[in-house]
Symmetry: D3
Subunit: 334 residues, 6 copies
């Protein structure tokens, strides 16, 4: 009886350490009804030049978040080996099956990649992706940037983010990198339930880690794409991989100090926001109304702010379900 | 052989002409696998007082457009009989099955209600709804307001809209009502392909008709909801049903003079907008880029403006398909 | 340009008029993704002997109603040519695709066969079936028996049924046949909306027509199967096709005089019946309660009898939707 | 590497131990495509007064069984704190996603809650529910009542049930509680395969446990709802939580002594029951016939009783599949 | 009330008559849930040079037949304007939505394009495609070649085909063109049920029409692709559009004189062919066996040849359904 | 806390060791929405006579591969106890749910049975099947034959196969059995990734194991069925279970020495094979072309042979996805 852990079946089709710029795939064998000897082909670009740190850059950890994929495709296209010192590993569509489907979780196994770490080499497709990053790509990196946005069901003020960590030195390095990103807002975050997150997997390996929320709704704007492209270059400059100076204005610091920041829908129905992202609210101000979806004339549920602050995130679709997060009120400074 | 047209099976559960305020339903019998003797129950509010015109007010003609439903629910809740002179018929969720599903077309028959007129009394569910409006509700009305937005796949600058009509007097009345709506923008439109539209059905009955596009993405904002609520009251005031004065600032006139306004995606892929709604472009300016969705490093398709103007509408989702409308450039004035 | 009506493509695989007993199919060519040159094969048994009337006997007009199919399969198996004078045409599974799927309407086109008459030879599968009965089988018949029950979403007291008809002689013949069926209850019915029904199609050809409702819930009982088998033999005896005497006790006459008989669910939720089939109610008695399906502790909706009588039909599933028929209160005598 | 078990993410929105009557939810965070920060909200009512035992009362362990939900909603609505001594925890829709879908197993993970114990805090939604009951709610309880019926595919005589247990004292307490329920029948049962059952999880914690089968078919009757409501009050009276005396007549004891009680379908087809629930059969009596579903005229399979007794359970739908349990013949007494 | 027929909404994105070689699309506007202002983009290549006939060449009339698409893509790529005299219109994927889905009928409306003629300008997507060919492209053509194969559920000997026509001159021209194709076999065919076929639509406009069956199974071989490419060039040479001489050996003439050629599956099950395509059978020879799919050890159904000849077509998948065409036995000569 | 492994719930309905020939099922209890007390019934035939080895014979390990099922049904029907010495256990449809669905993996759990070993007694349906073979049936056997073909997405030259094993004696016995099968080709194979395969599970128990690839495309031919039936008898003769002599000509030995044998699709599109199975290629020869599936006129991707040899396997469907195995070039001899 052999209880050893099987090897991860993913193989890159290009070398991960050869000087120059190579475009290829992470090939994940996937036998299924419509292809007995098929594969999931996750696009990959690796740029190597001279000596310097390694940056691992990922988008579409959730498949319906687009600022990261756009900024990473632009970087993969524009960046030349001679521009850098070190190595840049670009995976614009990390959860590729979810990206192709335009969905948060993978259509192949319904798994949320950002709750699947450390993954499993003999698990489902998403678990294999997580395991490969955990065991192969993250260990190669000094700096890891993972792009997020709100996806189809949430919308966020644009911010880069660092976590409170036990290792003060690592935390300081992460905060410096997040501030270098220079999004309009910067958030310090202590995850309540960090089990299975890519963030945690990366930080536990001692890496400098930056993540973002840059918009949402399953779309992007010219403005949010510019924030993503600029922040990405800023972080690479900050890391010494790219030459130049960090661009952009002063980022506003945000904090979500406690559970009162989160407002939950008490009923299902038609959602009417009363406050827009970035607007300021006082305690008790109406944040939203929920109207009956099956009749007319009934009084709406009114959801009021549990605390004062700035609206940092909100529910996106016009219909809402009981228990959905409806609004997040953050405080500035910190 | 009896070739007479069968009667429309829809029945209101409340009177359409009794003074006071009544909430009920348009009941459409619908036999199906999960309910042999079931029905589609379309919410309906009717408010009657004294003498005056009749306004027929509808939302969710497309089920994923939300400014109209929110404004109409607020009106149905807030408006009292003593506030008005005449009659207000409110159907906030006109294509109710589509509204409940959060989809443009009905999940019951895949029919687009706004291409289903004049409908059929023995057709599919959506065709029966069209036929009932065509034959029963529209004839009762003097003024018809039908709310639209971009839905899940388009985003618009907020505007009210009137059509170029053969009858100059009717056109003038419609333009006056659209301007009274007083959205940030007002558009004059000549539909190329008006076959099957509710707009056409209403206008052919000689009614004053106002429609809108107030946002999109399958969501709404506090701002767009305010525009809808205010515009609705403005139009009722303009019609003499509600007392008061029209509110709001100067509306910008927009025009879409020819087919060059419309820009179509030449390929499928990851969509990166380069211009945001309301921004000005010159001919040849890049409007968007489309990146390969299955590989990294390839050069994007760049879509350039065919004419100068203001970006009035754009594709919404982060992924785009070949043939999708990607951007509409309008001209101001008119 | 040829505007002639195409021929119906259905062909029986056995002769419809040869003496003896033959089992075969109505073969309906059906080209589709999983069979380019496939067919729908509707089981058919024809028994012919000597001279006498023709009876056309059908079950599974709705695919989830089972007393008819069971009684007809038993008859097709047990009945011998020498038992009869005339002809018996047995189609136990009239809407065969719906029967195989266990659904009311056909899974191939979502069409309710009992609203598809007179059908179309070049329409969908269900429309072709309707057209074949309309044009070929019904014209051959003197007596038509079509079995119904409540299906998966309704439950009925067991009754045979005749319609009020313009032709008094035809009506008397139908009533006599329905009474000969001798179910526990017998109902006289004036259909409000008879458009598209098989019943109407048969009656308009001047035939003697009997239909039934014998239970429901998508199941059957030993008792309801016995009622169906016995009633079927009784009607054939009554028609002079089979020798013997009509069996069974006195049938109770029922009437549904007006729309007040029908009680509709005012809201969706968890359905609690307060009265069982066959029980007597007084006006105002609670018929059912509807509890909230998304929260606990809320007061239920109570639905009260609009008139006195006997509970003749009721909603079946434990969940109910707004607009569903919840209960039918009939009156005895008539 | 941290191998500690993560905490269960479910949180009640109301206190579980505060005097009075509170309605709220068990909130289970559930991130998914249509709600990134969504939740499953399982309705919960807690009633606390003075000192006394704790009863944990659950329905919809299987989502298509309705007597329990109805009786528990009525109790949650009617019962007042002053009526009781102790605590009553009511979860009318235990597998809430299955209940909303009207299905036996959860539509979210296809898991049968009653085979998911002891559950897992980081498993699928149903596994999290099981884990929360196992670790939080059951330990609080002295008495546990879990309502079952046959669901959409089985139908049962109405009975309460206790298991043969290794601990004679616990067994006696369970039998006494089941008899106090006072359904028309009472069954003693030794589960063959108890792995994963809620029953086993509760009994292994030493609790007094009562379960039921009260009908089936995915519906309920006025009679079966009365049995459920009365039995529930009887058990609470028996436990000393509610004042009063146990109501109802003499319950018939049933036993299913061996595997010969179970009759299995030898082929797929159209199912014709020959015996109804509660009727007596002798060995060799026909229980049912199965007719061919794809042709007419063929001889049916006849399934005969393997032993004498009373028909206690049967297959429900009109179609049957090979291997389905077709009938259960029980013996009286015991 | 305007009862005029609306115009077909399809527009080519390239000119249909400009000298040179142009690649573009037939753009069919298609509003739907995932693209409000979307389109179906059907690939189109037009090559024009000098004077000469027009050939209209189509593949994927059924979306799972591949020899035509491959030969037409090769032609569109290889053929240069200077190679031809006249015009070649190439639509390699005629029912484009079906082609992309790999299905016989369109996934958008479940319509079989080859039964949808003459189509409708305001019908479903497939009906619009039919109407555009009927009204725009076919009238432009002198020669029409439409490629077919067996698709996923049938397999054929490779043959080109002409129909028996009322116009002897037209028939002779079609036969000459089919023989020029020079597939290994050539078939003369009288369609029994030609209603709605593209073949009929083309022939009724008096055009020279060639169709084929070149294999099947939803695949193609190197050999069948060569037959298609060579046949296509042969026909263009025959028509005088391309210079050169017709290639290939002697084609065997086949005939299907009557209904006895067709053998139908009498039961569903596991299909075992006993004869391969091109093999000769005598009357009574076993063509195939059908084994039970739900049990082992039962005797198979044996299907025997109703006439002698050569096996020209057969069922493809390993499972078969009752009523499926199992085998076609043709006769040689003619 | 009981951590012991639960027993496998599968039970045969016939004895596995009684002399004679018995047909029955492996009954696997399976509770689900459409049958609360249902089962998966896997057909099973056992033939026992005198003393001799036990052969375990399986087909439909993948549900869309048909040569094995046909040969095993013929054997189960034709073979008589007196023909053999020993025992033959026939399971023609090993992954029965996949076989009924015509799919590679099970529709019940999406699990590939041939990657599910050693299985789990409390896992999903496919895992239970694997566990039962692993723990009950394989241990009974001396010889195991498992039939494979290419299924719906691959096509193979017909070969029997043995693996390189650490135990030289076991390997020699397996090679001898594979050669005795006497398919047109015989292959020696070293699996790279044998984790979870039935092959490995059998070989690790020290059994003589033969597997095959006999065609593909989700169909079979008269020729491939003959190869399967003959090979099966040959192996039983070779094992001494059946009397007689091995039939058939000389089998060609094939080898796949390294990864260069495998050719992968570099892009999605329309697949055009340039070489057929069994044809010889030189390095650099074109194996296939891939044409754009969304436009016409673009140059195809050409896939060239990485080595010389014979085409032993190829992609089957007319459409291909990036990463699919497109062709396998084997070398003869070995």
């Amino acid at each position: 009886m052999n209880t050893s852990i099987p090897a991860n079946p993913i193989r890159p089709t290009i070398p991960l350490d050869r000087p120059g710029k190579h475009h290829g795939f992470l090939k994940l064998p996937y036998s299924r009804n419509d292809s007995a000897w098929g594969a999931v082909m996750i696009p990959l670009t690796v740029i190597v030049n001279g000596t310097g740190p390694t940056a691992l850059l990922t988008g579409a950890n959730h498949g319906d978040e687009y600022e990261g994929p756009v900024a990473l495709q632009a970087l993969a296209h524009d960046l030349q080996p001679e521009d850098i010192a070190g190595r840049v590993i670009i995976v614009p569509y990390m959860n590729f099956p979810a990206f192709r489907a335009g969905t948060r979780v993978s259509p192949l196994d319904s798994v949320n990649l950002n709750r699947a770490f450390p993954g499993a080499p003999d698990g489902s497709v998403t678990q294999k992706i997580a395991h490969y990053f955990q065991g192969v790509l993250v260990p190669m990196a000094d700096l890891v940037v993972d792009f997020h946005s709100g996806g189809k069901t949430l919308d966020f003020l644009p911010f880069a983010c660092a976590h409170y960590l036990d290792d003060a030195g690592q935390q300081a390095a992460c905060v410096a990198a997040a501030q270098a990103f220079n999004a309009p807002y910067t958030l310090m975050l202590r995850e309540i339930d960090a089990v299975g997150m890519y963030d945690t997997a990366v930080e536990q390996q001692g890496k400098v880690f930056v993540t973002t929320e840059l918009g949402g709704g399953g779309s992007l704007t010219a403005r949010s794409a510019r924030i993503a492209r600029r922040g990405l270059r800023n972080v690479l400059i900050h890391a010494g991989i790219l030459a130049g100076t960090v661009e952009g204005g002063d980022s506003v610091m945000l904090d979500m100090p406690d559970d009162d920041c989160y407002h939950v829908a008490p009923a299902a129905g038609l959602y009417e926001p009363m406050v827009d992202l970035g607007e300021t609210v006082a305690p008790g101000d109406p944040l939203a109304r929920i109207w009956a979806a099956d009749r007319s004339g009934a009084a709406p549920d009114i959801i009021r702010a549990q605390r004062g602050g700035v609206l940092a995130a909100r529910h996106f679709p016009g219909l809402i379900q009981i228990g959905d997060c409806l609004a997040v009120v953050a405080v500035t400074g910190g």
